[in-house]
C-alpha cells in the first residue's frame, strides 16, 4: 500500500484528529509569534480540507463507502461466549457524509482566512483559534460519525466551543447573554438526545447506527419516545421554528467568522435529523416492506411516513413564514440575516418533508410471496435532491452575507441598519459581494440559490401546489428584505460620519471572494454539482439498507 492509499484509508480519522491536534498545539505555538500561529491554523485547516476533498472524491466518484474503526479492525468484538457486540467507535462515510463534510471544509477554511484580519485587534487570540479548531473538529466529527454516543460527544464539543466563541466579546453584555442562552438551549437539547440514545441502547444493546437501523423493531413505546426526542432535540439544534429563538441571538452576537462556522454546526444538526429519520428509523419511516404470505398481510415495519411528513412540513412552513416575517421587520443587520437563515432552513425541511408524501407502494411477487416495497416517486426524489442541494447553497449564501455584515462592522463598528448608509462609494468590492449574496439567497438566476430553489418549487408543485406557492412567496419576501439592506447600508447619500471609511483588508476580501466564486460556479454549472455531488448524497439518504450493508461488512 503506497502512501496515498494509506492516507485515504485513514482520512476519516485524520479529518477529525488533525484539527484536534492543531487546537491543542495552538496555545503552545502562539507563544512564538502571532503570524506563525495564524499561518499554522490556516495550514491545519487547509490540510483538513485536502484530506476532505480526497475522501469525498473517492466516496462520491467511485460510489464506495469508507469505514474506519478506532482501535481495531472491526466494529464488532466477539468475547469467548460467542455473541458479538458492536462496541468500537466507527466512522462510516457514505455519500451523504461526504456531501456534508465538503460544506464543513469550505466554511471552515473561509472562516479561518477571514479571521486573520477580522480578529487582529483583539486579545486572547490563542484561545480564539483553539476554540475555532475545536469547533471545526466537533462539526466534522458530527458529520462523519457512525456511532450514536460519539455523535453526542461531538455535539457537546461543538456546543461548548461555539458557546465560548459566541461570548467572545465579553465586554458586551448582549453577547455574553447570547452565549448563555445558547449553552442552556444546546445542553438541554443534547441531554434529551442522550436520553433517546440511552433508550435505544437499553433496548437493542447497540450504539452503532447501522446495527440500530438493522435491529430496531418499533413495536414498543420507548422506541416512539426515542424518535420523538430525537426529532425535537435535533430540530432545536437545526433551528426549526418555534425552537429557533436562540439562533438570531447567537448568530447576531458572535464574531462573523465564528457565525460562518456556526452555520456549519447548525446544518450538521439538520444532517443528523435526516440521518435519524431516513437511516436509523429508515425501515419504519421511509422504506417499510409488506409481505403477503398466503393471504396474511405482515407488515415488516410501521408505516409512519405520513405522520413524520406532516410534522416536518408543518414545522417547515412555520419556519419559512415566521423567519422571513421577522427578518423583514428587524433593523439589526446580523439578526436580520440570522432570521433569513432560519427561513432558508425551512426550505430544506420542506423539500425533505414533502417527499414523504410521495412514498408509494410497488408490488413484486417472489416465489408466491407478495412483497410490497415503498419507494419515493420521481417528484419526491427531485424534492430530496433539491433539499440537499439547498443545504450547500444556503451555507454559502448566508455565509457570504454574514461575512459582508462582519466587514461592515469591521469598518464602522455598527450593526444597526438605521445608522448606516452610503457605504457603496467607499467599499466597492464588499458591495459587489453583497449583491451576489443578495441575488443568491433570494433565488435569482444565475446564482446557486436559483438552481436549488427551482428544483424545490417545481417538484413540490407536483406534490402539493399550495406548498410551492408559500415557498415562492417567502422567497419574494426574502428578496424584499435584502433590498432594504442594500438600500439602507450601501445606497443613499454619503453620511459624513463614514467619510473616512476604507475597503476592508485583503484576507477578508479573499474570504468573501472565495465564497462568491463558489456561488457563481455552482450557479453556472448546477448540473455538474447535481450529478456528481448531490445525486450520490440523495441516493445514500434514500437507501438505508446500503448504509447498513456498507458499514457492517
Amino acid at each position: 500500500m503506497n502512501f496515498f492509499e494509506s492516507l485515504l484509508t485513514h482520512s476519516p480519522a485524520l479529518i477529525v484528529a488533525v484539527p484536534l491536534l492543531g487546537a491543542f498545539l495552538t496555545p503552545l505555538i502562539s507563544k512564538i509569534n502571532d503570524k506563525i500561529r495564524n499561518a499554522f491554523v490556516v495550514f491545519i485547516v487547509g490540510l483538513t480540507g485536502v484530506l476532505i476533498s480526497m475522501l469525498s472524491y473517492d466516496v462520491l466518484m467511485n460510489n464506495k463507502m469508507h469505514n474506519y474503526v478506532f482501535g481495531g479492525d472491526s466494529a464488532l468484538i466477539m468475547p469467548a461466549s460467542g455473541e458479538s457486540f458492536a462496541v468500537r467507535i466507527i466512522f462510516a462515510v457514505d455519500g451523504l457524509n461526504a456531501f456534508m463534510i465538503i460544506i464543513g471544509a469550505i466554511l471552515a477554511f473561509v472562516g479561518v482566512i477571514y479571521s486573520w484580519h477580522f480578529m487582529k485587534e483583539h486579545t486572547g487570540l490563542d484561545k480564539y483559534y483553539t476554540l475555532v479548531l475545536l469547533m471545526i473538529a466537533g462539526m466534522l466529527g458530527m458529520m462523519l460519525t457512525g456511532d450514536m454516543f460519539n455523535f453526542f460527544v461531538f455535539l457537546e464539543i461543538t456546543s461548548i466551543s461555539s458557546c465560548a466563541l459566541i461570548a467572545f466579546y465579553t465586554n458586551k453584555g448582549k453577547s455574553v447573554l447570547a452565549g448563555f442562552k445558547y449553552i442552556v438551549i444546546s445542553t438541554i437539547g443534547a441531554l434529551f438526545i442522550l436520553f433517546a440514545i440511552a433508550l435505544l441502547y437499553g433496548q437493542y444493546n447497540a450504539l452503532n447506527m447501522a446495527v440500530l437501523a438493522n435491529s430496531i423493531q418499533f413495536n414498543t413505546f420507548t422506541d416512539k419516545i426515542a424518535l420523538v426526542l430525537l426529532i425535537s432535540g435535533l430540530g432545536m439544534k437545526a433551528g426549526i421554528v418555534p425552537m429557533h429563538m436562540w439562533l438570531p441571538d447567537s448568530y447576531g452576537q458572535a464574531p462573523s467568522s465564528v457565525t460562518l462556522i456556526l452555520i456549519g454546526t447548525t446544518q450538521a444538526g439538520l444532517y443528523a435529523l435526516f440521518r435519524m429519520v431516513f437511516t436509523v428509523f429508515g425501515r419504519h419511516i421511509t422504506s417499510p416492506i409488506e409481505l403477503t404470505i398466503a393471504g396474511n398481510n405482515i407488515l415488516a415495519g410501521t408505516n409512519l411516513n405520513s405522520i413524520v411528513g406532516i410534522i416536518l412540513v408543518v414545522l417547515a412552513i412555520l419556519t419559512m413564514i415566521i423567519g422571513v416575517m421577522m427578518a423583514l421587520k428587524e433593523s439589526d443587520f446580523k439578526r436580520m440575516i440570522a432570521f433569513a437563515a432560519v427561513a432558508e432552513i425551512g426550505y430544506m425541511v420542506l423539500a425533505i418533508g414533502a417527499a414523504f408524501f410521495t412514498l408509494s407502494p410497488s408490488e413484486i411477487t417472489i416465489e408466491g410471496v407478495q412483497v410490497t416495497f415503498y419507494s419515493f416517486s420521481q417528484a419526491g426524489q427531485m424534492a430530496i435532491k433539491g433539499g440537499l442541494f439547498h443545504i450547500i447553497n444556503d451555507a454559502l449564501d448566508i455565509g457570504l452575507l454574514f461575512l459582508v455584515a462582519g466587514a461592515i462592522y469591521y469598518v464602522t463598528k455598527e450593526t444597526s441598519l438605521n445608522k448606516l448608509g452610503g457605504l457603496a462609494r467607499n467599499m466597492k468590492f464588499t458591495t459587489i459581494f453583497f449583491i451576489i449574496g443578495l441575488l443568491a439567497v433570494s433565488g435569482m438566476p444565475p446564482m446557486n440559490g436559483f438552481a436549488s430553489k427551482l428544483l424545490i418549487y417545481e417538484s413540490i408543485y407536483l406534490i402539493n401546489p399550495i406548498l410551492a406557492i408559500v415557498a415562492i412567496l417567502c422567497s419574494i419576501l426574502l428578496l424584499a428584505t435584502f433590498v432594504k439592506v442594500l438600500h439602507s447600508v450601501f445606497l443613499g447619500p454619503k453620511i459624513p460620519k463614514f467619510d473616512e471609511v476604507k475597503e476592508v483588508p485583503a484576507s477578508m476580501l479573499i474570504g468573501m471572494g472565495l465564497i462568491a466564486i463558489v456561488i457563481i460556479f455552482f450557479g453556472l454549472f448546477p448540473n455538474l454539482i447535481l450529478e456528481n455531488i448531490v445525486q450520490p448524497a440523495a441516493d445514500a439518504l434514500m437507501n438505508y439498507s446500503a448504509y447498513i450493508g456498507g458499514s457492517l461488512l
Partner: protein, 119 residues
C-alpha cells in the same frame, strides 16, 4: 416494584429539572435545573448498565469469576457525560459571572428587559 424505583427517580429528576429551567427566574437556579436533568439522564444510563445476576466489570479477587460480567459500556458513557457536564457547568457559571457584572441582576425577566432597552 423495587426495580422500577431508579426509573421513577429518573423521571422525577428530569421533570423537576425542567420545572426549574422553565419557571424559575434566577439564572443560578436555571443552571441547577440543568444539572438536575443531567443527573437524571446519567442515572438512567447507569441503571441500564445493570443486568440481573451479573458481576461488576472489574478484575478483582472475586471467586464467582465464572458468572457473566455486565458490559461496561453504560458506565463509560456516564463518565463521559459527567465530564462533559463539568465543562458545561464551568462555562455556564463563568458566563453568569460576566452577566452579573454587566447587568447587575440575575433575574431572567429583568435581563430580557435590560437587553431590549440597550441601544
Amino acid at each position: 416494584m423495587i426495580y422500577q424505583i431508579p426509573f421513577i427517580a429518573v423521571a422525577g429528576l428530569i421533570l423537576i429539572g425542567l420545572y426549574a429551567v422553565i419557571f424559575k427566574r434566577n439564572l443560578i437556579k436555571i443552571v441547577i435545573g440543568i444539572t438536575l436533568i443531567e443527573s437524571g439522564v446519567n442515572l438512567f444510563l447507569i441503571t441500564l448498565g445493570y443486568r440481573q445476576g451479573s458481576l461488576a466489570p472489574i478484575f478483582t479477587g472475586n471467586p464467582n469469576v465464572d458468572k457473566a460480567m455486565s458490559l461496561p459500556v453504560p458506565q463509560a458513557l456516564t463518565l463521559t457525560s459527567i465530564v462533559i457536564g463539568v465543562a458545561v457547568l464551568a462555562l455556564m457559571l463563568s458566563l453568569i459571572i460576566h452577566i452579573y457584572r454587566h447587568y447587575g441582576t440575575l433575574d431572567v425577566k429583568k435581563l430580557a428587559k435590560k437587553e431590549a432597552d440597550e441601544e
